[in-house]
């Protein structure tokens, strides 16, 4: 019993100190954000490696998710004689949920894990230390541009994902299953609200971008400086990001769609 309490206390303290370190880290990164503009070239490189290079996986996944939605939505709706409502079903699911959430999960796997590994490696090989000794602040030189790149890329990627998904649903619904193309889009416009659905989805993806990038960079910095430590941190990034995204999604959905 005492052992259990001690264990509980120890893990509680562990989590608390982790949260503390992560918050201090976030604070310092945010304070260094002026470097994003001053060193815009570094920021460009990071947007390229975080955003542009995630584009392919996002477009392909978006297309397939949209096509599956079109197919499954049609099968369900046709039972009610409401196949015309397909556009609304596809668009709402994408814009509200699947766009931001799936993009965030893919982003965590593709860009987040790479960020963690990169920074973990820089720490392990003393590159961060060397920068400090050369009087270069790693927060401004390394973390701030990466953080901004993730924060900026996520909503853009999510929007691309949703847009491509809508087209995927169109290809299957209209092209293959014969839903009228006019009603596909008119139904879509009838049920999808700009502020309530599209803007809320964008807000979600902004929050996800913030959290996933934060987790990824912090995990890299907090990794134990060994190769095992890096691989553990990389896994941690994906797991923690996925949990954070899904948990936050629930909270945000509750707050925004009442």
């Amino acid at each position: 019993m005492i052992d259990f309490l001690a264990h509980l206390g120890r893990s509680g303290l562990h989590w608390l100190s982790l949260l503390g370190r992560a918050s201090i880290f976030l604070f310092r990164v945010l304070r260094s954000q002026d470097a994003v503009v001053r060193r815009y070239r570094l920021t460009l490189i990071e947007i390229y490696s975080v955003g542009v290079r995630s584009l392919l996986i996002i477009v392909v996944s978006g297309l397939f998710v949209g096509m599956v939605l079109g197919y499954q939505g049609y099968i369900t709706l046709v039972n009610f004689g409401a196949a015309e409502a397909l556009g609304g079903v596809v668009a709402l699911s994408l814009v509200r949920e699947l766009g931001p959430v799936v993009t965030a999960l893919l982003f965590a796997g593709r860009a987040g894990s790479a960020l963690t590994a990169e920074i973990g490696l820089m720490k392990t090989t003393e590159q961060l230390s060397a920068m400090e000794m050369m009087a270069v602040d790693p927060y401004r030189r390394v973390f701030a541009p990466r953080f901004f790149a993730g924060f900026l890329s996520m909503p853009l990627l999510a929007a691309i994902f949703s847009a491509v998904g809508v087209m995927g649903g169109f290809i299957v619904g209209v092209g293959l299953l014969g839903v009228d193309s006019g009603s596909y889009f008119s139904q879509m416009q009838a049920v999808t609200d700009w502020r309530e659905d599209v803007v809320s989805g964008v807000i979600k993806s902004i929050v996800f971008g913030f959290v996933v990038t934060w987790i990824a960079i912090f995990q890299g910095l907090d990794a134990e400086p060994t190769s095992e430590g890096i691989s553990r941190a990389t896994t941690q990034t994906v797991v923690a990001s996925a949990l954070a995204v899904l948990g936050l999604d629930f909270i945000l959905t509750g707050l925004m769609f009442t």
Binding site: Y48, A159, S162, V166, Q189
Partner: protein, 152 residues
């Protein structure tokens, strides 16, 4: 050279993202409706609004001329107060226009249909539509049919 490639590809990426947002706004969502421009508001009281939601369409002869901007319960009249925002261009509705709540299709969303009367005066901002017809409630209808049957 290398910087140029970076700049161009990042620029394209950002453009693509913004284009996707625009696509979502214009093709997928109803942002067009937010561009109704100037509107004037009239109110209508219903005993029962069924499943009517804010931003539901307001139509005349099936043509959309505005939307429901607000729904509230009026504790003094024991009725639902529905505020309709109608495009300023549509300023020729007679004062004795009737407002009814209809359902689009069997499972579709509910909307408000206006049927113009014959009055020479027209509805203006802040006016009230006096003639209203509430939403059909399925249980009530079935009940009425059953009483009709039993009285026969």
């Amino acid at each position: 050279m290398k910087l140029r490639y970076l700049e161009v590809s990042v620029g394209l990426f950002v453009l693509l993202g913004i284009a996707a947002l625009f696509y979502l706004a214009i093709q997928v969502s109803n942002i067009v409706e937010y561009r109704d421009g100037d509107t004037y508001e009239v109110t209508a009281y219903f005993d029962h609004i069924g499943g009517l939601k804010a931003r539901a369409p307001v139509t005349v002869s099936g043509v959309r001329i505005g939307r429901v901007s607000d729904i509230a319960y009026d504790p003094e009249r024991f009725q639902a107060r529905v505020t309709l925002a109608i495009r300023s261009g549509q300023d020729h509705l007679p004062a004795d226009t009737q407002a009814s709540i209809f359902t689009a299709g069997l499972l579709g969303e509910q909307y408000i249909g206006l049927e113009p009367g014959g009055d020479f005066e027209v509805l203006a901002d802040g006016d009230e539509i006096l003639f209203t017809q509430s939403a059909l409630v399925l249980e009530n209808m079935i009940g009425r049919v059953l009483t009709n049957f039993s009285s026969d």
